[in-house]
Amino acid sequence: MNCPECDATLTLDADLIEGEIVPCADCGAELEVIATQPLALALAPEIEEDWGE
């Protein structure tokens, strides 16, 4: 699986779940797991003003 932003080869955990965020070690892009079978990644949405804890 390659980074959709910079095309670097990604090293990913086996137990990823939908909705999880993984960073690309090469370009730093935040990637969202949008599906697991088969695995699909997309650029995560930008943080919004009301996000937090």
Binding site: I17, G19, E20, I21, E48, E49, D50, W51, G52, E53
Partner: protein, 287 residues
């Protein structure tokens, strides 16, 4: 009784909660707030209890109101989220309950905000009423900075950023305290150390265990009760003369840095609370 977990992004915290629920064999379903479509004509919702773990204040606030109107028991309740998600409402709730909190002034124009800042004295702290992770919090050291920041907010900010929430600056001893309260119990706390005046671990603060017995736990519990209770993280400040003040209360708390630090299994304590809530709901259902 069916359990739903309302979430958006899956953070470490959500994975830990899912793992704890799986370990106990508790049945649950994820409810992705991005996929939700509420038909407001329908008066039911196919879950009895919902644990709110959404990253978005707006989504959780409105979703919980809809859910509660349909008889769903929510953790935390919509009124608690509404108070905790808005710094003004939090401050008001704390003051009403006699919980010590930094002196805070509110103003609506750049001119009155400047006057309020000068009334508090420099440095003063300007915060957005909605926001988290230490974002957009500004320490204003002098009049030049005050005028510059207020002008920028006036020109570039949303309407919410024209609500000027201005707080006295507390000279922290290089740390603040985050205490975790679940139901009626302060379960643990951490010191958050940072060279920066903003100590959020989201901004690089370093965590160490803080004893939760005594004054820290007592004040954290009072703060949790002031906003309506539930599963909450309370941020406390220590003043130079030895007082404790409540700075804010977080309703969808992050805790990844506090489990090993405190030795307390925070996700397990949250699941204990959720399961107890399910039992209560179940008993009420059976009448």
């Amino acid at each position: 009784m069916s359990l739903g977990i309302l979430c958006s992004r899956i953070r470490v915290e959500e994975k830990l909660l899912f793992a704890e629920l799986d370990r106990r064999g508790v049945q649950y379903e994820r409810i992705d707030d991005g996929d939700l479509i509420f038909d407001l004509q329908r008066t039911t919702f196919p879950f009895d209890v919902v644990l709110e773990r959404s990253i978005s204040f707006g989504r959780s606030l409105y979703a919980l109101q809809v859910l509660e109107a349909r008889g769903v028991a929510c953790i935390n309740r919509a009124d608690v989220v509404a108070i905790c998600g808005d710094k003004l409402r939090t401050t008001e709730a704390l003051i009403r309950s006699g919980v010590p909190t930094p002196r805070t002034l509110l103003a609506f124009t750049t001119e009155s905000a400047l006057e309020a800042i000068e009334r508090l004295g420099y440095p003063a702290v300007l915060k957005p009423v909605v926001g988290s992770w230490g974002r957009m919090i500004t320490r204003i050291n002098d009049r030049d900075a005050a005028e510059a920041v207020l002008e920028q907010l006036d020109v570039l900010g949303s309407w919410q950023q024209h609500v000027y929430y201005i707080q006295e600056h507390i000279a922290k001893p290089g740390r603040d305290i985050r205490a975790f309260v679940v139901g009626d119990e302060p379960i643990c706390a951490i010191y958050r150390y940072s060279d920066h005046w903003i100590t959020n671990t989201a901004r690089g603060g370093r965590a160490e265990n803080c004893p939760v017995d005594g004054a820290v736990g007592d004040l954290a519990l009072r703060a949790a009760q002031a906003v309506g209770g539930g599963v909450l993280a309370i941020d406390l400040l220590e003043t130079s003369d030895g007082r404790l003040l409540v700075n804010e209360v977080n309703h969808t708390m992050e805790f990844r840095n506090s489990i090993d630090t405190t030795g307390v299994n925070i996700p397990a304590r949250i699941v204990d609370y959720v399961v107890a809530e399910q039992r209560t709901k179940n008993r009420a259902h059976r009448g």
